[in-house]
């Protein structure tokens, strides 16, 4: 029992960091342009498969990179995919929210087919950081890859925090999500800010994808669950709020881990859906949502 609780505490902390990373990218994109990017899950999948292709000799025989090289390269590739998605597709239709919303889900589902076409439907397992850490004192064990995911996610969030608070480029993202008109008036190139936000969000999704694929497996349906989680976390945390996303990621992450541990894996996902419905009904602004003040 004690071991169970300890493993919930540890596992929850580890996986929640990755959830937070996913949710932050999702909410940032919404914050600067009002676009709910339903292809965000597809970007996560892109991360897993890009990394897989780069490190494994069974996909592209000529390319086998060391994880240390492949990992940053994956982040860049997914960031660019995300950037391209914005510039080529979303920018041309973003003035119509419904059309954009539909287009991003179609992109996600088309991407699923593309992945199935190239890699086939079977799941690929790959290792990012092999090995298991036994924690005797707590009677639990931690996969190194989970530990790495935790550390890297928090480092990425730290860098992001530095970027949006200390650099001009990052501050303009924050300014735009606070008040688009205000940002425009102070001379911020809003369109450029949006493109940059998609780039950053894509990079974060790439990191999350590498680890989610490493912990589970890379398969063509792996985008659905993280997308639903990102959605739920962002609603619970308050849409557009980075701080709220991190807090909510931990709530949802722990809830999932705990229900999985004590009630069984089949109800794992159901609890977070229940929380979602409760939050929507009781607290539609989320934990850290801003109340909209008119006039």
């Amino acid at each position: 029992m004690l071991g169970d609780i300890a493993s919930v505490i540890v596992d929850g902390a580890l996986i929640s960091a990755v959830y937070a990373l996913i949710a932050i990218g999702f909410t940032m994109v919404f914050g600067v342009g009002g676009v709910l990017n339903l292809a965000h899950g597809a970007l996560i999948m892109a991360g897993a498969y890009t990394y897989l292709s780069l490190v494994s000799d069974s996909i592209l025989a000529s390319v086998t990179l060391h994880p240390i090289v492949a990992f940053p390269l994956t982040i860049v590739v997914v960031g660019l995919i995300s950037y391209g998605l914005y510039v080529v597709l979303v920018r041309t239709i973003e003035e119509n929210v419904v059309i954009t919303f539909l287009a991003t889900i179609v992109v996600a589902i088309a991407f699923t087919e593309l992945v199935t076409l190239v890699f086939h439907a079977q799941p690929y397992q790959y290792s990012v950081v092999p090995g298991v850490l036994q924690v005797q004192a707590l009677g639990t064990r931690i996969l190194y890859v989970e530990l790495a995911a935790f550390v890297v996610s928090w480092v990425a969030m730290g860098l992001l925090w530095y970027y949006v608070t200390k650099t001009d480029s990052g501050r303009s993202i924050r300014a735009t999500s606070t008040s688009e008109r205000g940002a425009m008036l102070t001379g911020v190139d809003v369109s450029g800010v949006r493109a940059r936000t998609w780039l950053v969000a894509g990079g974060l999704a790439g990191i999350a994808g590498v680890f989610l694929g490493g912990i589970g497996a890379a398969e063509p349906t792996m985008w659905l669950e993280p997308l639903a989680l990102a959605f739920i976390i962002v609603v619970v945390g308050g849409i557009g709020s980075i701080k709220g996303s991190v807090a909510a990621a931990y709530i949802v992450g722990y809830l999932q881990t705990a229900t999985g541990q004590f009630l069984g894996q089949s109800v794992r996902g159901i609890m977070s859906l229940v929380v979602l419905v409760v939050v929507l009904l009781v607290l539609p602004q989320g934990l850290y949502g801003t109340e909209f003040v008119h006039e």
């Binding site: 080529v88 041309t92 179609v106 088309a110 659905l224 159901i270 979602l276």
Partner: protein, 373 residues
């Protein structure tokens, strides 16, 4: 500005230009080429159209001669399909089932702008009600019992989704419907001692006579099309569109948007129930893969988008086009490539012809005959 951003921007601009060229050229040039045939035809058909406009046009919308011709040809084609399309009865039957779904989605999501990803759960509710009744209650149960109960169950589920979630605007609403599908899917697994999990439940087909089966699907489909077209063109349709365009204005008009949104869900759930029952019997079974998964909702959306959202008949046409491409014309491409081509088509329509292909055709026919509006 960086080079990369500049490149990106010029790509965006190029896309914009292509779009505007397409938009500007489609009608006038088309009119020049086809006009020689179109205008005399329009003159010939106009008296008929005028008579229609004076009688049914009040209720279903006015048409020009060529538009009426399109309607009559489509109707005639559907009714006589077993005579000319014996080899295609299966896809035509499926097309009709999906047309019911696409129209059902349209009257709720297309009209009000509250995009639902949950409609596959609605069709699933109908299919599973029929399946569970047959499996656990009585395999011999009459359609006169299972059909109304399935439609009822769908409506109840529709309201159960709508009542709490319609207080929420736009994306939040979509989220709840999306989650409903995931929940439904998980339940079919979690309750697999009832539902047989992924294997699903076997249901008897209506009949092994494909022609008869085709009519058993097409007749309800036409009834749904006529009813929803009538509703869509009525005050109710106008209010639903106004909710999409400006919900506050609807309140300011003294009309309760919440009531109308709920009503749109009922109007949508009934066809979804009908379609779900039809699909269960046509497919001889119900399982999560063909009914519940979110991909099915997205297919309904795709059909409505291709045909033209908020027009009922557009999604009907879109469904036949989509199923035709999916099950007949693109089959040679192989499983994944075929889907990829379909989704790309949907994307192209979203970007370049967001009003839908059938609405474009409809307008072109109107312009060809010298649109009177």
């Amino acid at each position: 500005m960086s080079d990369r951003e500049q490149t990106g921007r010029s790509i965006g601009r190029l896309v914009g230009r292509v779009e505007s060229v397409l938009r500007d050229s489609a009608l006038p040039q088309g009119a020049g080429v086809v006009g020689a045939v179109g205008q005399p035809a329009e003159r010939l058909l106009w008296p008929v159209a005028e008579r229609y406009n004076r009688t049914l046009g009040e209720r279903f919308g006015e048409v020009t001669g060529l538009q009426l011709l399109l309607l009559l040809l489509s109707f005639g084609g559907l009714v006589t399909a077993p005579l000319w399309g014996q080899d295609y009865l299966r896809p035509l039957t499926l097309g009709a089932v999906w047309a019911v779904f696409a129209m059902g989605w349209d009257i709720q999501s297309g009209y009000t702008g509250y995009i639902s990803f949950g409609h596959s759960a609605l069709s699933g509710a109908a299919g599973y009600t029929t399946g569970l009744l047959v499996l656990h209650l009585n395999p011999e149960l009459s359609l006169f019992v299972t059909v109304p109960l399935s439609i009822l169950a769908t409506t109840v589920l529709g309201l159960a989704i709508a009542v709490p979630s319609l207080r929420l605007r736009g994306p939040y609403f979509s989220l709840v419907t999306f989650v409903t599908v995931l929940l439904f899917y998980r339940l079919t697994k979690a309750l697999s001692h009832w539902t047989n999990g992924l294997r699903g439940i076997r249901v008897d087909v209506f009949t092994y006579d494909l022609t008869l089966q085709y009519y058993m699907v097409v007749v309800p489909m036409l009834a749904v099309a006529a009813t929803l077209t009538y509703v869509g063109r009525s005050d109710v349709g106008t209010v639903l569109v106004a909710i999409r365009e400006n919900e506050d204005a609807v309140s300011a008009a003294g009309v309760d948007p919440t009531k109308f949104k709920l009503w749109s869900f009922v109007l949508s759930a009934v066809p979804m129930g009908i379609g779900g029952v039809l699909l269960a019997h046509v497919n001889a079974g119900v399982d999560p893969q063909t009914f519940v998964i979110v991909d099915n909702s997205i297919q309904m959306i795709a059909m409505a988008v291709i045909g033209g959202m908020s027009s009922i008949l557009g999604p009907l046409g879109g469904a036949f086009l989509f199923v035709g491409l999916r099950d007949v014309f693109l089959v040679g491409l192989g499983e994944e490539l075929r889907w990829l081509a379909l989704w790309l088509l949907v994307l192209l329509v979203l970007v370049f012809a967001r009003d839908g292909l059938f609405r474009l055709l409809w307008r072109a026919l109107g312009a060809l005959g010298g649109d009177r509006r």
